[in-house]
């Protein structure tokens, strides 16, 4: 079962309208309703949708859309452009420290994909830059979290620093940084335990790790299937840690991924990478325009233009 995409929705609405010729205010309202629905079905947050539709509406009124026979296309174009704009026009690369090491910290809710992404990122750096990353296992809570990172490290031939589960994560990071300095590792990737943004103790632990390590990059890792609460999560982590970027995972599924829009608009932080599979090579750079089309279910964009 797939949800109706924006193109289909608009097409249906427009076919009805087209018979009448010129589009009125009321018709426009109907069109905006379809846009709202398409975005809600894609899991964009309700409040974010409201604001977004307002912007689109203003642009539509200001343009010649209302008189045009091909207005369906034009509205889709406006929506797509605005969405791409919100999502950030271009891909944003990883922040790097002017001198080694560059420190990257993975944070996010439970099960979002932090540990997997840590491994993927380390591999990417190793392959593309010949880097010598060190991964620090700072999740002492989840059963076998350290084993998980160690297995990834073993398979990728990337060292993992760990002190078991009896040592405080802040202390683990302190010693891990010292070891990296000694070994002259050029990248350090800190894997932290999943936590709720409302968990004060665990959020404070992250703040302490941040204060100690002064990371160049704090990557909030978010499951792309997340619904309306993506906004609370992103706000919570961003307000407490001032994250520097987002990773969207599990995009190899069939989710529309509207959470991307929600997170982008509440944090203003760039989405840097997307996870597209469980394999260590399944990490890709984020492209705003592709994500925009996906949220709108516009794989069929070209077909629509041909038909019109």
């Amino acid at each position: 079962m797939a949800f109706e995409g924006l193109t289909e929705r608009l097409q249906n609405a427009m076919t009805k309208l087209r018979r009448k010729g010129k589009i009125s205010e009321t018709d426009l309202k109907e069109v905006m309703r379809e846009i709202r629905l398409a975005l809600l079905e894609a899991d964009v947050n309700f409040t974010v949708v409201k604001e977004f539709v307002k912007v689109v509406r203003e642009r539509a009124i200001g343009s010649e859309v209302l008189d045009s026979l091909t207005s369906s296309q034009q509205i889709v174009k406006i929506v797509n452009e605005e969405l791409t704009k919100v999502m950030g026009e271009t891909a944003v690369p990883l922040n790097k420290s002017p001198k080694i090491p560059t420190i990257i910290m993975m944070v996010g809710l439970q099960g979002a994909g932090k540990t997997t992404t840590a491994g993927k990122l380390a591999l990417k750096l190793k392959k593309e830059e010949n880097a010598r990353p060190l991964m620090i296992a700072a999740d002492v809570y989840r059963p076998a979290a350290i084993d998980q990172l160690q297995v990834l490290g073993r398979d990728l031939e990337i060292p993992v620093f760990e002190l078991g589960t009896k040592v405080n994560p802040v202390e683990i990071v302190r010693q891990g940084l010292a070891q990296a300095a000694e070994n002259k590792n050029d990248y350090i990737i800190i894997d932290t335990a999943g936590r709720l943004q409302i968990d004060e103790n665990l959020m404070d632990e992250l703040a302490q790790i941040k204060a100690l390590a002064a990371p160049n990059e704090i990557l909030l890792t978010v499951d792309s299937m997340t619904g309306q609460s993506a906004v609370d999560v992103a706000k919570g982590f961003n307000e407490q840690l001032d994250v520097t970027g987002i990773v969207l995972t599990k995009l190899d599924g069939d989710t529309r991924g509207g959470a991307a829009l929600s997170i982008r608009s509440v944090t203003g932080k760039p989405i840097k990478f997307i996870g597209q599979g469980e394999k260590m090579t399944d990490l890709d750079v984020f492209y705003p325009d592709r994500m925009a089309s996906r949220i709108l279910g516009m794989g069929d964009m070209l077909t629509l233009i041909e038909k019109a």
Binding site: D43, Q110, G111, A112, Y141, D223, M225, Q228, S229, E278
Partner: protein, 292 residues
Amino acid sequence: TFGQRLNSLFANFRTVDEDFFEELEETLIEADVGFETAMTISRELQEEVKLRNVSDPDAVSAAIIEKLVDLYESEGENEDNSIAQAESGPTVILFVGVNGVGKTTTIGKLAHRYHEEGKKVLLAAGDTFRAGAIEQLAEWGRRVDVEVVRGPEKSDPASVIFDAVKRAKEEDYDVLLVDTAGRLQNKVNLMSELDKIKRIISREIPDAPHEVLLVLDATTGQNALIQAKQFKETTDVSGIVLTKLDGTARGGIVLAIRNEMHLPVKLAGLGEQMDDLRDFNAEDFVYGLFKG
């Protein structure tokens, strides 16, 4: 005890008018109930309110909760919410779901519950794929003091599960909880692997698995509906476990799943510790939809 959100929803209104229902719709949508379901609920509630002829929000609040619980349960009359048990021999429960939702953790918690009840519990480490997955289940086994059947990393999950079923039969276990690797519902090969696993279990114990529990993360939005459909098709899911309800997400999508697919939610996950498992309670859930 009404949630804060419900209170503030009602506090803002002196009469139950159009604005009232608009706000109610918003609240439901923000709980991930989904647009269509939110509209249906709102419509039915409007009728209910008209019928009872009440206009005072305080009076209507109880009616709303009642109606929502009714709606939740309407598709499930005479339905058994409890976990099925084998008439004789081991009860086998298979856990399925997408990546990272909480399958392994739920198994740990449920094993703890059964162990506390004095049952003889066995776990099968059927996720041989994800890094550290076997060790994660083994650690749960140690924590809650139950045995775990495991094979080597990357080995065929079906063979591990076969061994576990055999051992459960031969050594008179009461319960066998089977873990599987997380998989996205659009991966055809991985989905048919589940089908194979299920057949292997049935071959050993004809009426097993007695339950196939689909684990859903309450944080998930509309995609959960597709997950439920696809997993139900391949593995004949018999119930849902809704996890991570201790977070800010309300898991409203299960309302739609409940009604479209006739799948009861059986268990709720409320944290990462072994005691953080509850039997699902529709009333608590409905209150939770409005929590602030």
